[in-house]
Symmetry: C2
């Protein structure tokens, strides 16, 4: 793993503490998920980044509960390309970035897919920020599950101020939009980025959100795990996973950043689902459970008051 | 279908003739493919574009030979967005574009996927150009098939000058590169764009290429159609189709243009395969037929001399 020598940018102590936090959280989450998917284990792939630094990719495939689960940390440095700098609205410069990124694709279509990401970014002139969030993507949504997810996130946010949850919930709804489809990727969560200034405060907030990941998601897995499903539900899951692919490859900043910066491709794209299907002009029958999901994704809702 | 009144830009006669050619070619190709996939028919979906114009999408799904085949024409106008104008290296302006776009995803992994596209573009200040090409994406490549495909294209090009095939073959290899994977999407073909100036000559050239599509591709279908395959080959096809998705959503100009201009999403994304699979860090065993494909995609080759 990198230190400030290999990176070539003097890093403040918070950079090191952030990286340590991401690595600890990765371990905690993998242990808990292995507990759920008994008998299956995450692999452990360490990789180096040519520009400096590297990462640890942990992947569980073909589990009983998780068809594909990736929980990655990385800590890399390099030079921003012009288009990356433009997108971030900062000057071109050398950077250091560390973070945790996870996507869990359960086998059962009754269990929602979940994504979480936490990151720290530092530019050579000292500009630095935190970003992150998590969001839920059900195929057959159950209101109580979604409310539980959002309530847990609100709880984590409220410890740091009453405005955070509403603001970051809205940001999440905006960010995870599949523009060309006019629909949300899922039922949201929280999303925040470019948290500059009082970094200690932002880091504490980020940790609160990271720490509730398991509490927000795993109860939903346990509730839905034994719901029955058949071929129809698996097909629908596969067609909805195709939308996940569309979002990640066309819009997701993290993915495009990773591909552009020459990150380790297999780690960047571990977010992609194990299967996907594209049918032409698919329209679920009105009133069906599948149509209900589409209604839910047509516009964001408030899940907690 | 649009005419110059609905478009609001006075169009030269070549614009109308180009559109007529694309529509005629669409009909010819669909008839021929229905002949191959006996008993299955292309649907016929007409759609309107909010900015002016519209298109005709013809799709055949779940055929015996073609798992998903789309042959679309469109003729639309609108205003270039800033990023579209930047990508094309032209000023922001109103435009008219017409074209034919097809992607055929055969069911058998032994039959290559094929893509072809022909387009005419006109900007309100009179700037206009032709573009197009076709390329082959095998899963289990057979040299004779690839040579046949390229020989046919070379024949069509050579009628218009000896330099065209080598130049457009190289352009195709460069264009259909999955940069983040460091591999070609397939075994190439020809690609050309921004053919300005002597438009009549370019139009004649484009028609020669369009007219050999069936001759370049259908013999390969007929040769490979009864080759045996099993689950392993279907899996590999699905994993390679995932690369097709990566290219189309991350790099393909036509796709990004279509999504950005607010084209009809289902027609723009009909190019996406019926199925796709992402496995983490997949490496076919050395010496396997699957590994042979990867070698072939690692760098372009000359198929005809």
């Amino acid at each position: 793993m990198p230190d400030q020598e290999t990176i070539g940018i003097p890093l403040p102590s918070i950079a090191h503490r952030a990286r340590e936090y991401f690595e600890r959280l990765q371990e905690t989450i993998c242990v808990a998920l292995e507990e759920i998917d008994r008998g299956f284990r995450f692999t452990r792939d360490r990789w180096d980044h040519p520009g400096g630094g590297g990462g640890l990719s942990r992947v569980l495939e073909e589990g009983a509960v998780f068809e594909k689960a990736g929980v990655n940390t990385s800590s890399v440095s390099g030079l921003l390309t012009e288009s990356m700098a433009l997108r971030m609205n900062v000057p071109r410069s050398r950077f250091h970035a560390s973070g945790l990124s996870l996507v869990l694709h359960p086998r059962s279509p009754m269990v929602p897919t979940v994504h979480a990401n936490f990151r720290y970014f530092h530019r050579e002139d000292g500009d630095q920020w935190f970003g992150g969030g998590m969001d839920l993507t059900p195929f057959y949504p159950v209101e109580d599950d979604i409310i539980h997810f959002h309530k847990t996130l609100k709880y984590a946010c409220d410890m740091h101020g009453p405005d955070l949850y509403p603001e970051y919930k809205r940001w999440c709804d905006e960010y995870f939009t599949i523009k060309h489809r006019g629909e949300n990727r899922g039922v949201g969560g929280v999303f925040f980025d470019y948290l500059r200034g009082d970094l200690e405060r932002h880091f504490a907030f980020l940790q609160s959100v990271g720490d509730v990941f398991l509490g927000a998601y795993t109860p939903i897995v346990n509730r839905r795990l034994h719901d029955t499903y058949g071929d129809r539900e698996r097909q629908w899951q596969s067609m909805r996973r195709a939308r996940y692919v569309e979002f990640n490859l066309v819009y997701d900043r993290g993915t495009l950043f990773g591909l552009e910066v020459g990150g380790r491709v297999e780690s960047v794209l571990m977010s992609l689902p194990p299967t996907a299907q594209w049918r032409y002009n698919l329209q679920p029958p009105p009133g069906s459970r599948e149509a209900k999901l589409l209604e839910l994704l047509a516009r964001p809702r408030n899940w907690v008051h």
